[in-house]
Symmetry: C2
Subunit: 424 residues, 2 copies
């Protein structure tokens, strides 16, 4: 007897999975309770060049037929179609599914989880969020005895690399993006990364797990990093902050707040020192307080490590019984609209440099229920000054309407920047 594994996809990650399965077969057999046997590798083009360690006799282009022969199906082809059909077919056949496909889960997670529950099979997806960083395990298992309040993190290595280059070397966004593309960190079409969609898919998955509520990518208001300049980053640093693209999911009194946006993080916060293409996720929970998980969010070997841990867990359940934690939606919390969220903000105004302006501006904020935490004024030109305000926690809607009103006042020349602040 053995546990039969079908691998769908043989790109960077798939190749690493196949090689590690072979190199560590004895270890994995001990840990899973039985041999893991790779019975086939499904690819689009059998004749394409491959790593010499890939056993070409395992290759097939009939992916559907391959899934019927396996106890565990590893889906690494990415995208929604035909991944969705293949995964649902595998579940129907009673196979355990291991996937690294965040796009599929963000778009069709509920359908897949329900099909899995009905067929009583496990679905694993550690590799779909933050590569090797074990945050799916963290939320599904390590925090199962706790009440999660916040999940927040650097979920996209490409944008973190770009922001880090802009911070460390003063590069422009365009130059840093080009460097990321040259190094293979960013794709030719960088939209999914730099506009925040990749991070939004991941925070939706993590929020579902953390809050036992159905959260889709469409629930996540998303702003990317295209508008961030090296000057913004340098100015933030002078004030004691780093700018990071954070995915944030937080339990508020009225429901779950979600967001992907460039965010100011104090320099002594653990997320501020996450360099290069690393990923990091911070959870805050009632019992454990703050936990941080940190590691490589992409790459063949790190992602393969996450895939294979899921394979070992799934195989162990097939050998010894039991099951993976199911995707629970019992809490069914309301999801807040962007305006209903609350946060601290840093706002930079250019104002007339004359007596009484600060009083008028702080009055206008107070009229909209926004209270000031810190304020700093510096001369900009002869007749104008730059005023940097950090607010206490305030409703986003209130901050927006305060800014609209202040913009219209005669003493305000411009609103230079409005940015969320976290971790203060």
């Amino acid at each position: 007897m053995s546990v039969k594994i079908a691998l769908l996809g043989c790109g960077t990650v798939g190749t690493a999975v196949a090689k590690m399965l072979k190199a560590q077969s004895k270890d994995f057999a001990q840990r899973a309770g039985d041999e893991l046997e790779l019975v086939g590798i499904g690819v689009r083009n059998i004749d394409a060049p491959r790593d010499p360690e890939i056993d070409r006799t395992l290759l097939t282009d009939d992916l559907e037929a391959l899934t019927t022969k396996a106890d565990i199906v590893i889906e690494l082809i990415g995208g929604v179609d035909p991944a969705r059909t293949l995964v649902l077919g595998a579940i129907k056949n009673g196979a355990t599914v291991v996937t690294g496909n965040k796009a599929l889960l963000a778009a069709h997670g509920p359908e897949i989880y329900e099909a899995a529950a009905e067929a009583d099979v496990d679905v694993y997806y550690e590799a779909a969020v933050a590569g090797a960083v074990p945050v799916v395990y963290g939320l599904r298992e390590s925090l199962a005895g706790d009440r999660v309040e916040t999940v927040m993190g650097i979920l996209n290595g490409t944008t973190n690399f770009i922001l880090d280059e802009m911070e460390t070397n003063g590069m422009s966004f365009d130059d840093a993006l080009k460097l990321a593309q040259d190094l293979g960190y960013a794709e030719a079409d960088p939209t999914a990364d730099v506009d925040g969609h990749d991070a939004a898919a991941k925070i939706a998955i993590l929020a579902s797990l953390a809050f036992h509520t159905r959260v889709s990518i469409d629930n996540v208001p998303t702003t990317g990093i295209r508008s961030i300049t090296a000057e913004d980053i340098a100015a933030a640093k002078r004030d004691g902050f780093a700018i990071k693209l954070l995915g944030i999911a937080r339990r508020q009194e009225a429901g779950i707040e979600l967001s992907v946006e460039p965010t100011l993080v104090p320099l002594d916060h653990p997320l501020a020192s996450v360099r290069g293409s690393f990923n990091s996720v911070v959870t805050e929970s009632a019992g454990a307080g703050r936990l941080m998980f940190y590691g490589r969010g992409a790459g063949g070997d790190p992602t393969a490590s996450a895939v294979l841990s899921d394979v070992v867990a799934g195989a162990s359940h097939r050998v010894y019984g039991g099951r993976a934690p199911r995707e629970l939606t019992y809490a069914d919390l309301p999801i807040l609209t962007p305006d209903e969220g609350t946060s601290s903000f840093r706002i930079e105004f250019e104002i007339e440099d004359r007596t009484g302006v600060l009083t008028q501006l702080s009055g206008a904020l107070a009229d909209n229920n926004v209270s000031i935490s810190t304020v700093r004024q510096s001369a900009a030109t002869e007749s104008s000054a730059r005023l940097t305000v950090t607010t206490h926690e305030a409703r986003t809607a209130d901050v927006k309407s305060a800014i609209e009103k202040i913009k219209a006042a005669d003493y305000v020349k411009d609103v230079l920047q409005v940015m969320r602040v976290e971790g203060n």
Copy 2:
């Protein structure tokens, strides 16, 4: 039907466990698949004052009788006896055991794991290592598809608090220890913490999990922090290092190297910025590369969070079948003696300030297979100089014998410090 829970011990952690079990009973029932029912709390003195939320009708001083009524026994009484007898009794009765008792596991782990395997029951102990930091889950599950090379971390919050106070506020060891005692971070008898025994018990547990080999606390050469001065810390900082008490377990070619000792960590390494009483564990593995886990290593609520996650996992196995990963010892790797380990070292010599000394000293190191990575000489007094050498990776035995020989040379006045360097 319900899953019946017996709680042994009602100190800070036990009280937090009982309160969180009540406050989150609905969540836990959803996650475990059935109600978790607290059927009794075993204590030494029923009449002692307790938190008002503790249901006194649950208290009993017959701990052995209580364990026979439970599906899951939570052992939080600490120490070896009677914890060992109670845990072995619970296992024999077929109960799942959740323990936070590192002393028990470090001394009697193998006996307990074997009894559990024989009775086919789960033993969980996330709370025994680094409190809420989910590093037992990390090694048992998240890295089950990988090959761990190194586990290394700040495993004792008390000593990290003391070293941090010495670094940040220039305090002496004695003053920092007194502050830790006043704040409740250190016990009246601080031996277990400051002499490294607590960290040694934890790294032994982690090494067993990481390397699938039986490792006991007696295998861990242990040096505490009593001899570290504020001057040592300041000097290290000037050279770009923090001094941290690290527990280290590393796979070397010849076997597993183990150590607890004050260690120099580069200031830009993630472990260098772990402040106060926080804990942090770094793993290096073939696939995932470097992962870091960070959080609160002690305290009632954080430890209770770890205990309750284990309870939910254990309860879920009782409801749906399956089992926790067993403690595997199949790899059975040799354990190196302290002298067989290899590491980089930083050595400070006081030498005669005359021509040719550096040549003689580097020659003496080379004769013992120790090669120099960096060297820095500064004037100490009129006739003597201070020489700071950082070595490349070298065998500990070779470094020791080189130092013995150098000590005897006429050009050396003193060897001021020898300290391990990690994470370069």
